[in-house]
Subunit: 248 residues, 6 copies
């Protein structure tokens, strides 16, 4: 099975870290391809960044279909481009926010999301609402750290995040913590150990959920909402994204 893990930003040190996290949990027969798009923002910290990152994600899924990928993980906690990517893909596509929330739902009664820049709180609120997780999500805690701080040597970002996770358990009546950024994917084991409760990384969870679905023979349903894109002309600099007629 071949799973493409797409880091929607273009910071390859983060992509490599995400790839490692994915490979660490992948089943023996699973090949992980970890990539960043050819273009786009170096980090994703708002709706503007997400819009461009979505195109990068779609681009990689389109390529992935040609490369024979069986499923995809979108490794940014805002799940940019998820719905569009589902239209393009035959197999399953899972965002890491989605993956982490579903995993937490299956092992506990309520979770807290711990994430980075305060301004991106809205994205997480929208996802919680859209995924029907309002009854499970007890709090969203933003550390207000920039995303790329996680890539800095010697930064105290990890210590701040661990401390916030601790507060989540103590104050929110939560029984697990979601690591709200692809750049935290190397912290799952460390934080779980530090806080004595599950700290869930969506990259890891996403890989296992894609594996599970593919093993079940389940791909994205091609009825209704996520049917393949309609044949269509795209103009100008997006003309390469035109949708040709599908063969019967």
């Amino acid at each position: 099975m071949k799973i493409k893990v797409i880091n929607p930003n273009t910071t390859w040190t983060m992509t490599d870290k995400i790839g490692e996290a994915a490979r660490a949990v992948a089943a023996p027969g699973t090949e992980i391809v970890a990539v960043s798009p050819a273009m786009g923002p170096v980090s994703i910290e708002g709706f503007y960044d997400e819009a461009f990152a979505a195109i990068g994600v779609i681009d990689e899924v389109r390529k992935g279909e040609a490369e024979g990928c069986d499923g995809y993980v979108i490794a940014c906690f805002g799940d940019p481009g998820l719905a569009a990517a589902r239209e393009v893909a035959r197999g399953p596509v899972i965002g890491i926010a989605e993956a982490a929330m579903h995993a937490a739902s299956l092992i506990g009664n309520g979770f807290t999301i711990v994430s980075m820049l305060e301004r991106t709180r809205a994205t997480m609120e929208h996802l919680v609402h859209a995924y029907g997780m309002s009854h499970k999500c007890r709090n969203i805690r933003m550390t207000d750290l920039p995303v790329l701080e996680l890539e800095e040597e010697g930064s105290n970002a990890r210590a701040i995040i661990v401390e916030e996770c601790r507060r989540a358990l103590a104050e929110d009546h939560s029984d697990s913590v979601l690591l709200g950024c692809g750049g935290m994917s190397d912290l799952m084991a460390h934080i779980t150990k530090e806080i004595g409760a599950p700290a869930i990384d969506g990259v890891s969870a996403g890989v296992k959920l894609v594996e599970a679905l593919v093993s079940l023979g389940l791909g994205t349903s091609k009825r209704q909402a996520y049917a393949y894109p309609v044949e269509k002309v795209y103009t100008g600099s997006f003309s390469q994204y035109s949708v040709p007629a599908r063969k019967a």
Copy 2:
């Protein structure tokens, strides 16, 4: 006041029609600039199309800021790029689905959306949910017509739409109908007259709501979620969208 009405697809016959609908309701001092992006899909019929259309919308809002626009209307019933556009804009940005739903809420107790391709039902469901309109939206009726059918001479699309609007009133306990496509913006008066109840076009509603907000001195709040994008490098073919530092 200068309002940019952005048709997110690149079919200029539709853009012209939308511009006319906008000008027909604009206040004396309002200048309407109706545009399509320089690139993107010729119609928007799914999440894939929306993702690319969002970039076109953002592009036009970026230009609009330089051109001194006071507000924006996104003239596609999926409101593509709305959140990102709000980050970019100083003034208000309104999507036509949003505009139509808010207008209907203020003049009635429950509405039905009448729209085009069945597969885009999901987009409308997501918007209804996200905008808190679940208690107001009584039904979503898809005619399953392609969007560009509305641009065809001699098509019976209008007759089919009128008939569906009639059924909405008769069967859904609705008191108004929302015209669920930018391409229907010339039908508001006609359908209203035919069905004897308000048929709301979001383009017209959007223009008046932007005018209202601008007159109140209200632009997009720059606290929290819709603050200006963070200074950032964009790589590759999106490098032109890099966000420079803002001047104090």
Copy 3:
């Protein structure tokens, strides 16, 4: 266009202030008629007061229909009599709580209501729930000041309110503040400037929304819920409110 702005209480100093706020934002061709009912409570601080104020509002809308009014604003943050007034009116009727919530929804991601007596919190909660604004309203902050304190010379009510608005931004993750009382209608510009984020007055917003709807040719839908009242005899001291048969 003639818009009647009804202050549902009978304190005319407040009515005058409300009228000024309305006129300050009205379009050139809009005539503002600001009134209080002929009878009722001098301020509205609970459900009992609201019930009587509703009759005053209805009375003024009935008169307004005869006077040729095109639309109405109910200038009390509990929106008393709104549904009944909609039955009576041909044109649109908007409450200031409703107007402020809708305006805030269009320019931001989440608001806080700042208002007066603690006991009226329930009214605001009910409106937030009824209007589908639960996902937008992040907090309701009551200063526990009596409504008429706003009319007192030398009161420090304004300073207390500004301070509460500041706390709303700092603690609630809100990006705008709603001024939760008709008596605050003169504070919009002042507080906006003080807190550096939109402080929305529902009177101003209501006038602009009514103008917008009337310009669109939209009045209250006469299908279903807000159809004109049914022909009916009223007995006793309310006999003047009997509903005659409507002419075809």
Copy 4:
């Protein structure tokens, strides 16, 4: 115990019927006082009617407090004036829509409301939403009969209602039916027998719920929302409703 059952309209034949239904279920020591207000609409079929009926209800509760009433039932399925009446009353106040919905919740899993004029559907929808009964209410079926049809000799209204109740069980997956009008209060036993499932009359249910609460020593909580009205001057024709200072 003295319970005042207030028929909010001024049709005394209906009031008498309601009084009989109340007495039929009242406990031995309970005195039922069934009244209509001194003024107001002869039937309640919309928000306009409800607004005036609310004043009549408040008026009767005010008198009731002087008369030593221990609790109140508001015998119209729109529960007009309920919140205001709660402020005035020391004891409990229950509306018949509220009573019927709570009773149905305790004996079944889902109910259908069967009621009269189509246009009043909105009132029932609002109540279902406001009372948190959305998960219990499976349908609202309007027969589109005028309320006073129930008072007509020889009308086939009853037969139509029974038939609609039957359909509710057969088509809505409901296990009980709520009789959605005070004028149906004599039909509980008859319809229950006809359809072989509970047909719940809110007047009967309301009386028993008030008895239950009073026996428990529970009156309307005077903290927060339903505290006694604030001391206040009422002007004009409503001056009699001024609120005097309460004695310590």
Copy 5:
């Protein structure tokens, strides 16, 4: 009328206390039978305990049907076995969490639950959600005391609970407090007096609600969800719970 009040745990000192509370409010003609099951946990502090307690409850309802009981109260704030008991019973069955929440809804605008072990918070959250009481329940406060602490002579549990109830009123904008454990059933009057607002015991409320329903001729609806159990063989140690065919 004969009402069986079932304390689902097997601590008879608590059962006696519960029986006393029930008898104190029962109507003259009501016989209260207070029991604990023949088997099960000595206190209920989690889902595991609830599962076994449910069987005890069902067992007592089965016996109760043979004994001619007219209704049942399940006297544990998690309402264990409620749905199953409803299938078995002809008459009404009410849980004390359900009873307390409904009573609070009828006399106030918002309540706080005050209860025992922190870990059982989830049970109460699930009930609030399932009963549609999310808009009424403002907080759940766990004192983290073990349930049997309430049976200890000289414990300061009562003082801790009273203090928490006080905080509920002061901090939660609540107007009543629900006593979230069957073992608190003797505290209703005491706490009500101490805090100056209704403190509602579900045992007392449950008895009066059952009386009310039975007086109305309402038992559990035998249509749909709560129809009598289907004829069926039970194997092994549960064979005594096999369901025989019902006589026509």
Copy 6:
């Protein structure tokens, strides 16, 4: 990895079928142990049956902990005993309704449940509500077939179910179908092929989700709601279920 798949009823032909479905999807290193409890109902068709089945499930999970099981699947679409089983287990426990709903959420936009006896509709409604899946579940279709009909040679149950699945796609705007009974676990491939869209069996999905969680090192969180049961005496015939003190 050792996963125990518990068929909560005591019909071993069904247990065998469920075991086969589980083994068909299990990963190479996964051992499937498929069991029925030692006691309980031969099929589960209501809340009464579920209550007893829950004890059987708990019993098997208790044994499973001693046997070294890493996770559990509860193979009845009502997920009986799920919360209690989570308290007992160190590893993950998943119900098949839960598993199927989560899987459907990840590959589509909306599902329909197709199941057996009409009376059990309520169980499914409760689960949909409790799991936050209201926005995903578009319909619940009951064929009104008894559960054991699926075990009968020559029954036309399968044909009826396939037909209902077809209708689900055609009429409900669903893009997948959930097989709402453990006894349908052999039909996933067949129905998927027949209807041309995913038909999801919860047994298969449950096994893969348990595998995924265990591989991630995630067991049931032992903080808060699902902590191990509290040390406690059980009396009477349940004394064997007493909870001993846990060793540090």
